[in-house]
Symmetry: C3
Subunit: 479 residues, 3 copies
């Protein structure tokens, strides 16, 4: 494969066409919702908003900002662990998320927020758009290093559509509860991404194997991503929960689950290493599985110890996945999963979906109070006849639908991405920033004491290196 | 120029004198406002604050913290792209901002918050102080690498005064709307900084040209700055808007504009490169222009598509500026703009001011509702006779005044900074941390496998390098 | 000392046992508090929570998230300054904090939040757990690089207990005010950690002296920690203050104190250097002393100028401590304080305790209003007879108790940690990640222009280095 990776026309065209489309569609469809509109409408008075403090903005904005950080810094920096792919990791994630949130505002708007033929947006839409994009970031983790930015944009375009359809089926048709997105975001995103990377299988990827690894500082950059994801995950799982106790409870449960997950990840990471040493890959990823695992159940009456148990097992299974499953997937199933999203989002996503179904099925009026149960699960109107068992059953349907959508969608999108004119890199150039970026010449990134510097500059002219810079190079150890 | 850069007495004296002055002035003038004071005053009861939730603190604190992060981490790390100037970038930015916020609390307090001969401060003052300092951070970007910390403090001292005067003229005399500061912060800050750097023109700056560039990891550090600026910009533009829908709308518009800006920046960056490759400088900077461009209009009924259009063009013009304008400014106008602030704050600031003026001029009661229009623009009292056209006209005056203040102020401050005793670096030592910092000796910042380390240590004694450390050095490629 | 550092069984066992214990104890004891529970209880109605906006969650969640960032990113990255200990700094801090918050929820719960034999948790408990862990992070700074992760877990286990006992004595028995934790968190944490490191004294630590230092990029990573601590400290000191003006005032005072502290730290750092150069150690640490110094008094009517004065002196004493005291402690008192916590938390903690005592003792109804004074200090019920002088006296008792607890507890825990089977590193392997981590092989972390790369690969085979990677090595300067 020696495809043309010069994107001079393709990338600008893709970006500009998509953005012009966004402008037109926003012009036709998107308006402010009542809480963001300057009108002092009768509606506003009728809804009895006596004080600005009841504006949805104040309930959701802090959580929104945390989720925003997770999408851009969290996912972006988590993927900088590759030592020559940091620009692309953080840059392409930035690009896909910036496009994705606009497109998600439209797609999710058409499904959920149309009023008088307009999409009505407010702070909750911004959060949901970030959620939708998070599932694209997950899938991006599987194909990281092997696709061009044009492919990334195309994948985002289709995945946002599929996500929105799946979300509509789950939330509106199956009446599923999934505030933290174990199903809609993580399971869907992970299996979609894994299917795409399966279709894009590269038998000769080992030609760039030496670049598919980290260096010391790139692992520290990745920890920035890990920690911001970890710290803000309680905001993620509680961001769109109902006001009051639901949001409060979702934050507490997520906090507990994540804390437990760190300890079991560390335990298994050390136990599976001959010398008992920890592996940065596990610390960077498996410690987050607890957040995925309580995605669905976080706002339910899971109880703090329930959250700890979920985190406990997510940490174990996720770390085991990195050690045993990822190599198996690559060698046997031809699934090349760069970031190990199957371990961080796939398995814990399924665990989270099942935990959610079970927690719902065994919900009782003792736990929630009678009003609380009816209120929380919405057992009113056409759902009046539902029991918690019905709810649990539909939660399982939600998981199955998400998996089916991910597989089918992934195959179609994968085939589209396999077309040979999207500027994808050759096998020997994967995981390499220089294909798509102007990469700065090395100035050795290190600091010389003046004495050494002087001797270098005076005595050692270096051919074909710009004057004044000094490059560390490898030479035989024995002269 | 071989000036003395030893700041042993000058920097400590400057810091201590300024800080003592702050203590004295705060002692004489600064008190808590009613929402931060422990008194259960009649006033508090009269204002009918029935619940603590109406305390201004809860409306503004989350936005304040986001703005705070933008000033210290955002601007600080954005400027770490220079490979030998990271300490100074983040350190001097820290110093100037820490001094600037205190001085701004006083200056802005005298202009806006005097009550019974005291300056009354609360959370909104902290945000405004951060805003004022943001304009100093902008200007600092132009002179980065070429000034001493003493000069930075002096520039901050004067710029905070000029900023506050300009802000007073705009907001109080011209009744201009500028919540996100396209005029007061960005246009003023950028042209002030550009004027200063013009006055400080160094004809022989090419002597340190090899240091005015990035390395791989310094570009990743800079992306930390970029992303925190990008993510929190909605908080920046909405932080001091009126409660409720204004704040809500400002956040939505800024989110939209920034998203659009990323796509057009990427498009132009790739289109202008021979091989279609992206340039980190554009991704780090031009992607932010959308936030500047909606600064004034963000809280207006700009509509989401309006915001997208603004971001669309800001991304394009900003990237074009980096490619064509910055070299022109340097070679023809002798303006050495280290960070390209003209492209990130100058041009988009002017665009934002004009967009604000036009949006105000064409505001209608259809968009805002009759009460909304009067309420938002304050067409009451002596402004009762104003039309939206009047408002638009005054917005333009605001831009012109800001430019005039920036140019005049920049000339005066530039001349002061040219005095030869502020410890500025020689031309060949610009962009060099070691002039003002104890820089750690290199330990090669990299990790050796034990086998290699052993061979190195046993076989290759290195003259004049401390024992145990190993330094990569340049040697001829052909023995 | 050639102890076995293979933790293959010890670390996993420690993690799993502790986590299983957490699950069991949470199952038996921990329940949601009323604001996080789904029940629509009579209690809830009786407390007249008419709107969800009065849910404690909305008062505290933004502050909680900021504190969370300080514990995990702030402390974690602050300690990455060591050039070969970044993984351990950020990773062990992650581990200890994740365990510590669970254990603290239990310990603090038993002391303060038991209701019907259950511990009732809500958002405020999460903040307090983070606070408790912050004191462990402080102590960890003293022993950084010299302990195994098993030792870290053991220290955390005991320190959380001691912290909770001390906190109970101070807050509940001595009725001390300490919202920002100058006494409970900083003084206790610092002197506990210093005592432990004294007991663990290593006479031959100079064998790894060459690793106990920073490189250029590790100092920049540390600045990420510094800045997030600095920016979010106003949230730290105000997070658990009473609603309304107390919280508001605490944020303002901390903001002022920190700003002043930066200027005096810079001043002293430059003044004490022969060439007037700044030292990164001071900028990374001493600039934060102002936050510690107003911990106790931040929510009092300290006045903004009072806060400036506190920050002013904390910056000075902290920097002086780094220059003069740390070497003295090491050479004379055999206290090896890796991060200089005595200067950042010890001295400023004592200053903060004294400032708090004095501010309380001289509080007057003129400053607070009569109702304000009674309300703020709780001079009701059995405290009705107290004067502000009594309060001040008890504040001093609080400091003395904290110091006594720290010293006694530190001796006991230090002796436990000295047992030879915890996997501690030998003297020559301190400050070395490779002891406990799989450290990535060096790929030189730098970027070679293609031309150079080609010549290297063709002409210079390097023995015992994996193919495709190139390692910078030290060679004699003169062939």
């Amino acid at each position: 494969m020696a495809w043309n990776t010069n994107l001079r026309w393709r990338l600008p065209l893709a970006c500009l066409l998509l953005e012009v489309a966004m402008v037109v569609l926003f012009g036709v469809f998107v308006r402010y919702d009542i809480d963001a509109d300057a009108h002092w409408s009768a509606e506003k008075i009728r809804r009895n908003i006596s004080s600005d403090v009841e504006n949805e903005f104040y309930y959701r904005y802090p959580s929104f900002q945390d989720v925003h950080v997770m999408v851009f810094v969290g996912f972006g920096f988590l993927m900088t662990f590759l030592h020559r792919y940091g620009f692309s990791a953080v840059g392409f994630n930035f690009l896909l998320a910036a496009f994705g949130i606009q497109w998600a505002l439209l797609m999710q708007g058409w499904f959920h927020h149309v009023q008088d033929r307009h999409i009505i947006i407010g702070i909750e839409n911004l959060i949901n758009a970030d959620f939708c994009v998070a599932s694209v970031c997950v899938a991006f983790g599987a194909v990281l290093g092997k696709v061009s930015p044009v492919q990334v944009l195309i994948m985002t375009f289709f995945q946002v559509i599929l996500f929105s359809v799946n979300e509509f089926i789950l939330l509106n048709l199956l009446e599923v509860k999934d505030a933290g997105g174990s199903m809609t975001i993580h399971t869907f995103g992970a299996y979609f991404g894994l299917t795409v990377t399966r279709i894009l299988y590269r038998p000769n990827l080992d030609q760039s194997k030496n670049r598919e690894s980290s260096v010391y500082h790139s692992d520290l950059f990745a920890m920035i991503g890990t920690l911001f994801l970890w710290m803000y995950w309680p905001s993620f799982n509680s961001a769109v929960s109902s006001h009051g106790d639901s949001q409060h409870r979702a934050a507490i449960n997520t906090y507990c689950s994540l804390a437990a997950c760190v300890l079991t990840s560390v335990a298994i990471s050390s136990a599976l290493n001959k010398k008992g040493k920890l592996d940065m890959v596990h610390i960077q990823n498996a410690t987050l599985a607890g957040g995925v695992g309580v995605g669905t159940a976080a706002e339910m009456m899971l109880m703090p110890y329930g959250a700890l148990i979920v985190g406990f097992f997510c940490g174990i299974f996720s770390t085991l996945g990195f050690v045993y499953l990822t190599p198996f997937l690559e060698s046997r199933l031809r699934i090349q999963d760069t970031c190990g999203i199957h371990n961080l989002h796939g398995i814990p996503g399924i665990i989270g979906s099942v935990v959610g179904a079970v927690t719902a099925a065994y919900a009782s009026s003792e736990q929630y109070g009678q009003e609380g149960l009816v209120h929380y699960f919405g057992f009113q109107g056409f759902k009046e006849s539902w029991t918690t068992k019905t709810q649990g059953k539909f939660q399982v349907f939600g998981l199955l639908v998400s998996l089916a959508m991910a597989l089918m969608g992934g195959i179609i999108v994968g085939l589209i991405l396999r077309l040979p004119f999207w500027g994808q890199p050759a096998d020997e150039n994967c995981f390499e920033d220089a294909v798509y970026w102007e990469v700065p010449e090395d100035k050795s990134s290190v600091y010389f004491p003046d004495t050494v510097k002087a001797s270098i500059q005076s005595s050692t002219p270096v051919p074909s290196i710009p004057m004044g810079s000094s490059v560390p190079i490898a030479v035989p150890l024995v002269p």
